[in-house]
Amino acid sequence: MSAGKTFLSWPVLRQVTGSDRLGRGAAAKSGEDWTARTRTADKVVQSVCPYCAVGCGQKVYAKDGKVIQIEGDPDSPISRGRLCPKGSASEQLVNSPTRQTTVLYRRPHSTEWEHLDLDTATDMIADRVVESRRRTWQDTDEQGRILRRTLGFAHLGGATLDNEENYLIKKLFTALGAIQIENQARI
């Protein structure tokens, strides 16, 4: 134990040897006028935890277009209001200061990112898909049987996404002839 951290610095000792022995003084009291963040919300919606597959109910509290708190939903017969450490931390997931909220683009051979606007990036991606599909298209196999496909591009992801999103991914990519559409369920 280092010299600066003896048992004399233990909180309980400091309390009983200090002026507020019972710990009921002002320092330990919440102000009378404190209000729970959730009570200031102008909107509450029912949601579902985005981490594991238990599907715990969440209540999402928002104010002025910003999420201010996420709590367990006591109505849920699955979770009865509880959330685990991850679910409880999901406000940080949504409001993370490191969250990347603009499009980034890395040119071939470049050492740095650069910025693009969303529409331009989506246009460029559409061009890449059309080009790769054209270059790698397979009408038939070596026996002349119809394949009608491309193995030129692939997809991974979906287990964290909504059913509606997976539906559009499978539908569009299949219509493009892409086969290698995969997600975490394989892993």
Binding site: V45, V48, C52, A53, V54, G55, G57, A62, V67, P74, D75, P77, R82, P85, S88, Q92, T98, R99, Q100, T102, V103, R106, R107, P108, H109, S110, T111, W113, L116, A121, I125, T136, L147, R148, L151, F153, A154, H155, L156, G157, G158, T160, D162, N163, E164, E165, Y167, L168, I169, K170, L172, A175, L176, I179, Q180, I181, E182, Q184, R186, I187
Partner: protein, 873 residues
């Protein structure tokens, strides 16, 4: 379960409070073990011996639920005379071809169905399919398994005495899975093992049920599917399927991983577990349906034509007509394994140009991280959609291979797009949780700046690609241009998730081809083009025109089944095959376990849940022998999706590695297989590549260089590859660093010090971790020698931008050897070395790994022999 699904675990604790006994079987001691009545530590990769031992105990002690087993399972069904089992062929089933490493499953069929089988199913991989990488016969089955030709009329001996009946086959097959064998292979004492057997059997029957819960600790093996089959056999023998408090619960690890399997972003299936068409078998829709179902089998899969036609009508609308097979030819054809690991090897071979990654982090989360990252460096373009700059987005700048100098950023010509994603509170939509329940989540706020949902991205990407090809006359573009793609919302550029969910649910098609009333049940689907529906098992989520997934009647205001919270597929049934919760006469097995029963007066099934059975089918109903389809389901055939209406103790079709589970050692193992000369799954998918080497096993030269078993796992405070947890301060503070769990004995043997560093080495990589010396990991005595296990959580990665914590990635240690049925990697049991101290600097790690490879004499052939000839074969 307490560790990775903590809130779900509250129900286990509720059960314990009511007297349930909780048994935790796991190589490591976790927060689950801490509150369990019994923790059984076993060697990673040995579970089939443990489960097979329980099956043997049930059979030998005659503890099976005889009335249930005779009526509801295929125990009485006779198997073909020429079927040969592993006990006769030293670890192989009949039909094995050592040249291709595959089985011809014909001899596994039921007796008396030979004439039907000849007409269709029993297919072998074609000669040009490599046994190692392209095998995909299993991929052509969808989830119905293979077709059950002739299964509407099987030969049964309900005395269970015929030596060819399934029960007798089972007895012989599992005879060698003795308590002594369990001790030898798993490292579990006979006392501990028998106490599990006694608890499980004593707690099953009319008045009691036992539930089994598993996660990827069972699936991520080269024989993973058979792990689950083993549990299925136990539960069927004990009468625990289709009953409250019973079943086998797959605890899935992502918010909608169940949904992404039902509406699959998977290469081998279409929505609702219909197979993707294959070039070998499916030149047209008629041929396709012949391999999905048969007019000589029972059950609802015989309506696959209606499900398929409705799906195609959803996708191609008015263009899809009976004259053109509803545009069946628009579907691309598969020709083997196109799974994610196959795709990565094709990237490395410069055969893939582009890659979309949406909400996934393969650089850290997929097996063999080095192959993942190097594979991406061969792409022309990469699109990553996520919240944070995860490692899969930045490997070209700061990944381990860039840090080591192996890759130079300036030399990498991959274009990388990072698109910010919307979070769950910034969009409407449904997740399907682990019990098949869809829950709608409401949008609370707009996503920030350029962040958008995947729904937005896919819709606009589709619009842009369609605009580019709008004038095309090329036939290849018809599927794209004829696609129904109208998801706009009131003229805005926002797509509507509600519109998509309605399409998934399906509707009547009006004579003019436009959408009519929404369907309420998949039984309304037709194969004549008069209905559309994007995923037949989800039909009913919009029953009565109401979004049933958005229902949120408080749990406190409804029954314990809580049917009015969300919506579970199919038809809002909360327990599948719940006809089995009543006896053959339709009465509850006991009052305590009453769930669904026959109401004689009303002439229908009723109960606490939606009956999973034709509503008015009386228990004593017997169809004319040979009647196919739903009409062929007898009043005592609870398994209405099975081709014979029975639960399958023995799988006569559908699996590629055998009709019964047999224990094989993992690709990398410290011991020879004590059960058979055949060491590992003879049909496993090996990827013989210089970048995917395996450690030698057992007594092979070089095995001593990798003497320990390791397994990987999750912690409560992190989520998979860390993309949603390592960037969060709360969670990172709780679990800041990559660590390895070792026993005090292993620490002493290798000089590992608690809190110091250790380096873990395999033929793939070397990683460093903080040492946690703990009694939670116990050395086991296996095959007469001590086997040490090392536990590794896999949440950390190198690189990425802005993560609160980083560290080496456990998945870099894992090689690619796959289960033949589903192409999942063997990530839960492998061998390693562990040594004290940090690994060498980034640019010297490869050198260390190469030293191990050369010292152990490892080549691309090491560990990859599929068929090991024993004395008897």
């Amino acid at each position: 379960m307490a560790e990775c699904h903590p809130v779900g675990f509250q129900w286990v604790m509720e059960a314990k409070r009511k007297g349930a006994r909780i048994i935790h079987i796991d190589p490591r001691f976790t927060r689950t073990s801490a509150v369990a009545d019994q923790h059984v530590a076993l060697r990673a990769g040995s579970d089939i011996v443990f489960l097979g031992g329980i099956i043997r105990y049930i059979l030998e002690q005659e503890k099976y639920f005889r009335e249930y087993v005779v009526a509801y399972t295929n125990a009485a069904t006779l198997v073909r005379d020429d079927f040969r089992d592993t006990d006769e062929l030293d670890g192989l089933f009949s039909g094995y071809d050592p040249e291709t490493g595959t089985y011809d499953p014909a001899s596994w069929a039921y007796k008396g169905v030979e004439e039907y089988a000849a007409a269709g199913n029993a297919r072998k991989p074609s000669a040009d399919q490599s046994a190692h990488t392209d095998r995909a016969a299993g991929d052509t089955h969808g989830a119905a398994g293979a077709v059950g030709h002739g299964h509407s009329q099987t030969t049964r001996d309900e005395t269970l005495q015929d030596p060819r009946c399934v029960l007798q086959v089972l007895k012989r097959h599992f005879a060698r899975y003795t308590p002594e064998m369990v001790e030898q292979v798993c490292g579990v004492s006979p006392q501990d093992f028998l106490s599990v057997c006694e608890a499980v059997t004593a707690n099953s029957g009319r008045d009691l049920t036992t539930a089994w819960v598993y996660s990827v600790g069972w699936t991520q093996h080269a024989v993973g599917v058979q792990y689950i089959r083993s549990a299925a056999i136990i539960q069927l023998l004990l009468g625990n399927m289709g009953r409250p408090g019973g079943g086998i619960m797959a605890l899935r690890g992502h918010a909608s991983i169940q949904g992404s399997t039902d509406i699959p972003t998977l290469f081998n299936i279409l929505p609702g577990y219909l197979p993707m068409p294959s070039v070998d078998d499916h030149p047209d829709m008629t041929a396709y349906l012949k391999t999905v179902t048969s007019d000589t089998q029972k059950g609802y899969w015989t309506h696959a034509g209606a499900y398929t036609a409705s799906l195609l009508k959803s996708w191609w609308g008015k263009t899809a007509t009976s004259d053109n097979d509803y545009c069946f030819s628009y579907l691309p054809k598969i020709s083997g394994d196109h799974g994610t690991y196959n795709t990565v090897t094709r990237m490395l071979d410069d055969q893939v140009e582009g890659y979309f990654i949406m909400g996934e982090n393969p650089a850290v989360g997929s097996a063999h991280g080095r192959m993942q990252r190097l594979g991406m460096s061969h792409l022309k373009w990469l699109v990553v959609r996520d919240f944070q700059l995860i490692e899969s987005a930045t490997w070209w700048k700061d990944g381990p291979e860039v840090r080591s100098g192996e890759l130079k950023t300036e030399d990498i010509d991959t274009e990388v797009f990072f698109l910010p994603a919307a979070s769950h509170v910034e969009k409407d939509g449904t997740f399907t949780q682990t019990q098949r329940m869809l829950q709608w989540h409401h949008k609370a706020v707009d996503p920030p700046q350029d962040a958008r949902s995947e729904l937005h991205f896919m819709w606009h990407l589709g619009n842009k690609i369609r605009a580019r090809l709008a004038e095309s006359t090329d036939d290849r573009d018809r599927p794209l241009l004829d696609l129904t793609w109208d998801y706009g919302q009131d003229g805005t550029d926002e797509p509507s998730a509600d519109k998509v969910l309605r399409e998934i649910n399906g509707w009547q098609v009006k004579p003019d081809g436009t959408p009519g009333p929404l369907l309420s049940s998949y039984t309304q689907m037709k194969d004549d083009g008069s209905t559309a529906g994007g995923c037949w098992i989800y039909t009913g989520v919009y029953a009565d025109g109401v979004n049933q997934s958005a229902r949120r009647k408080p749990g406190s205001q409804q029954s314990w089944v809580a049917p009015e919270w969300g919506w579970a597929w199919p038809s809002n049934r909360r327990i599948l095959y719940n006809r089995a919760s009543a006896d053959p006469q339709g009465r509850p097995w006991s009052e305590r376990k009453a769930y669904v029963w026959w109401d004689e007066e009303a002439g229908s099934w009723t109960g606490h849940d939606v009956p999973d059975f034709p509503a008015d089918r009386a228990p004593d109903f017997r169809p004319e022998p040979g009647t196919a389809g739903p009409e062929g389901i007898a009043g005592d055939d609870p398994f209405i999706m099975q081709s014979d209406g029975k639960g399958w103790l023995f799988a006569p079709t559908g699996l590629l590695d055998g009709p019964l589970p047999a224990h094989y050692e993992p690709q990398e193992s410290p011991i020879r297989n004590p059960l058979y000369s055949q060491q590992s799954n003879p049909t496993r998918q090996v990827l013989k590549r210089k970048d995917n080497l395996s450690n030698p096993s057992a007594d092979a030269p070089g095995a001593q260089d990798f003497p320990y078993v390791f397994t990987t796992y999750r912690l409560t405070e992190h989520h998979t590859a860390g993309g949603m947890s390592r960037w969060l301060p709360y969670l990172s503070e709780l679990q800041p660093q990559f660590f390895c769990e070792v026993s005090p004995a292993l620490a002493a043997e290798r000089g590992l010090v608690n809190g110091d560093w250790a380096t873990i080495v395999t033929a793939r990589s070397a990683v460093e971790a903080r040492v946690l010396v703990t009694d939670r990991i116990r050395p086991l005595t296996v095959n007469g020698r001590t086997v040490h296990q090392v536990g590794l959580p896999y949440h950390w990665g190198q690189g990425g931008k802005g993560a609160v914590v980083e560290g080496d990635s456990a998945n870099d240690l894992i090689g690619l050897t796959l289960d033949p049925n589903v192409h999942i990697q063997e990530a839960k049991a492998a061998t390693c070395d562990i040594r004290p101290g940090r690994r060498p600097a980034d640019h010297q790690v490869r050198g260390m790994v190469e030293d191990y490879i050369s010292r152990a004499g490892i080549t691309v052939e090491t560990g990859n022999t599929l068929h090991e000839k024993g004395d008897q074969s």
